[in-house]
C-alpha cells in the first residue's frame, strides 16, 4: 500500500506538536486547570472547602453542638512546604466558611490589642466598666498542616501536597476529628520547545 506523502507529513507534524509543550496536570483528574506545580489559589480554595465540608458533615459535629454552637478557635495553618504561601489567607477562608455554616461561634483574636486598650479605657473612665477575665473560653481548637513532597525523575516532576486538619477538645485534650486531603501534580518537560 502506498501512503500519501502529505499523510506522513501531517503525522510527523502532529507528533512534533505533541512534544512541543511542557505539560502540567493533576495526578487525579479534576475540573480546574493547573498552570504550574506550585500551590495556587484554586488549590487553596479547593482544599479549604473540601476539608471544612468534611468536618461539617461528620457526626461528631451533631454531638458537640447539641447545646448550641460551641466556641471554636482556628489556629493558623502551618506551612511545611517549599513555597511561600500566605497561610493566613487559607486560615481566613476556613474560618469564613465555618462562620457561614453557623455551626460554631467565634472570638476575634486579631483585634486583641484594640480590645485590651478599650477595656483599660473603660476601667479608667467608664461608669459601669466591663471587668476583665469574663470572656468565654473556647472549647475546641482547629489546627492544620500543609506539607509537600517533591520528586524528580528525568523529565517528570511529581509534587505531592498533603493538607491535614484536626479538631481538638481543649477540655479533655482529645482529638475528636481529623481528615486529610492530598493534591498531586505532575509536570513533564517537553522534548522540543522554544
Amino acid at each position: 500500500m502506498k501512503i500519501p506523502l502529505n499523510w506522513i507529513a501531517a503525522a510527523a507534524l502532529a507528533a512534533l506538536l505533541a512534544g512541543c509543550a511542557t505539560t502540567v496536570e493533576y495526578g487525579d483528574a479534576t475540573s480546574s486547570k493547573p498552570i504550574s506545580t506550585s500551590f495556587g489559589s484554586s488549590d487553596l480554595q479547593q482544599i479549604a472547602a473540601t476539608m471544612v465540608d468534611s468536618m461539617l458533615a461528620d457526626e461528631v459535629l451533631q454531638d458537640i453542638s447539641q447545646a448550641g454552637p460551641p466556641l471554636l478557635i482556628v489556629d493558623k495553618v502551618k506551612n511545611k512546604t517549599m513555597q511561600h504561601i500566605d497561610t493566613e489567607s487559607v486560615t481566613d477562608s476556613i474560618r469564613t466558611k465555618l462562620i457561614r455554616s453557623r455551626k460554631f461561634s467565634f472570638q476575634d483574636r486579631t483585634t486583641e490589642a484594640a480590645l485590651q486598650e478599650e477595656l483599660a479605657y473603660q476601667q479608667a473612665a467608664a461608669k459601669d466598666p466591663i471587668a476583665g477575665g469574663q470572656q468565654d473560653a473556647p472549647r475546641y481548637m482547629l489546627t492544620s498542616n500543609l506539607s509537600e513532597i517533591e520528586q524528580e525523575q528525568g523529565r517528570l516532576k511529581d509534587v505531592y501536597y498533603k493538607f491535614t486538619m484536626s479538631l481538638r477538645d481543649l477540655q479533655s485534650g482529645r482529638l475528636i476529628w481529623a481528615d486529610e486531603k492530598e493534591i498531586r501534580k505532575q509536570k513533564t518537560r517537553s522534548v522540543f520547545g522554544g
Partner: protein, 488 residues
Amino acid sequence: MVEGRSISVNLQKGLRTVLAAGLALAAAGCGTFNHYPLGMEQTTLGPLRTGQQTDYRKTFRKRAKKSNAGALFALEWGRTAQLAGDFKASRDAFEKAFAAIEDLDNRAVVSARGAAAQGGAVLVNDKTIPYAVPAYERTLAHHYQALNYLALGDLTGAGVEVRRANREQEQALQRREKEVAKAKSKTENVAPDDERDPHLGAVYAGLDQAAGAVKSSFQNAATFFTSAVIWEMLGELNDAYIDVKKALEIAPENHFLQLDAVRLAKRLGMREDLEDYERRFPRAAKMPAAGSDKLADKARLVVVFEDGLVPPRVEMSIPYPLTSTDSIGMIALPTYAAPVPPAAPVRVALDGRPLASTAPICNVGALAARALAEQMPGILARQLVRAVAKGAAAKAAHDQGGSAGQLVELAVLIYSLASEQADLRSWLTLPAHVQVFSAYVEPGDRQVALAGSGPAWAGPVTLRAGKTTLIHVTHIDLAVYSHVFVQP
C-alpha cells in the same frame, strides 16, 4: 563537522569576512563584564573590600534581566544587597535568580533558545551559553534567602527556604549518584573523576589543589548548620537533628556540631546515635539535653563568621592534539590558580570574657573548584568542537591561496585568537570560608566581640532566655559586615 573545502572565497567576500571578524572582536570586547571577574572587581568586589558603598542596583538590575547570565547577576545582586543590610532588595533579587534558574531548568530538553546558544558557543566561546548555576551556588542562594526572611521577621518564610536548600542538596546528590552509576556501567569500577583527560593535567592540578580534601561539590555543612538553627527556632527539633547529623557527616571535626548532635540526640532519645557520639566525641558527651533544666533559662548565642571572597576562575591555555585535523590547537580552559589560604578562627568573647574560637565548617572555594572539575569533561568537549571548526576554517582559507585567501586566513586567525576565551563566570561575592560558634549563655543585653587576624567586630547583643540570637559577620579584607538576628 565543518567541511573546509566547500568554502569558496572572492575578494568582496573576503573583505566582508574581515569586517565580520572585526565586528565580532568589537562585540567580544564590549561591556564591563566581558571578563567577568574583572567586571565584578571593578563594580562590586573592590568597593566591598574597603567597605565602600556599591551601587548594586545600577550594576545588576539590567544585567539580571537581559544577559545570558541573568541568574548569576541576580545572585550577586542578592548577596551584595544583603551585605549592605538591604534585606528586601536582597530578597527580591534572589527571587529573580530563582525564577531565572527555574526558567532554564524548565526549558524543553531540545529548545530553540538552547540550540541557538550552543551554536553560538561553538562559533565563539562558552560565554554565549546561558550560565548554568551549579548546585553549591543554588544551595547557598536559598541559605542567604533564609537569612533575608529571618531578618524581615518571617520565620515561616525562612523555614521554606531551608527546605529548598535541602532539596537542592538532595537533588544534587541523586544526580551525582546517577552519574557515578552510569560511569560504572560503562567501565568497571571507574568513577567519573577518573575519566580525566591526560592532556589536562595542569588544569586538574589547579582544581585539585583548590579543592583539597573536599570530595563533594555540593555537600555544604554551613547550610545544614544554619538550617538546624532555623529549625530549632521553629521548634522542629527532629528536623534540626537530621540537619545537624548531615552537617556532622561532612565536618565531623567541628566541635559545635558535635555539641549540637549530643544535645539534640539526648532530647529526642536517640540512644544508639548518642552512644556513638559519646565514643567518638568524648569532649562533647557532657552537653545537656535540649530543653533540659540546665539550658531552659539560658540563651543560645550563635555566630556565623564568613571570611574572604571565593577565588575567581582563571584562564589557562593548553595545547591539545586535534585528531580530526591532524594538528595541535590551543584551547582555553577555566581553572583555579592558587589554593585558598586555610580558615583562620576568630575568638568570641562575651562582656570581655573569652568563650571559645569559631570552628571551620565550609570551604566555599573548595566547593567551587570541585564543581568546576565535575563540569570539565563537558567544557573540554565544547572547546574541542570549537578548535576543530576554527582550524578547519583557517585551513580552507589557506588552501584558497592568493591575496584574498591570505586576507581571510588572517581574519580567521585573529578571530580564533580573540574569541578563544575560557568561561570565567561564577558567583564571586560568596565568602571563601564559613566558620561557626555556638554556646548557651546567661540572657540579657550583652556585649559580644570577635577578634582574629583581620578587623575585629564588637557590638551590643540582646540575648533572651530560651531564644536564639544569631550574629552573622562577614569579613572581606579591610571591611566587616554584620547583622544580628534575634529569634522572634
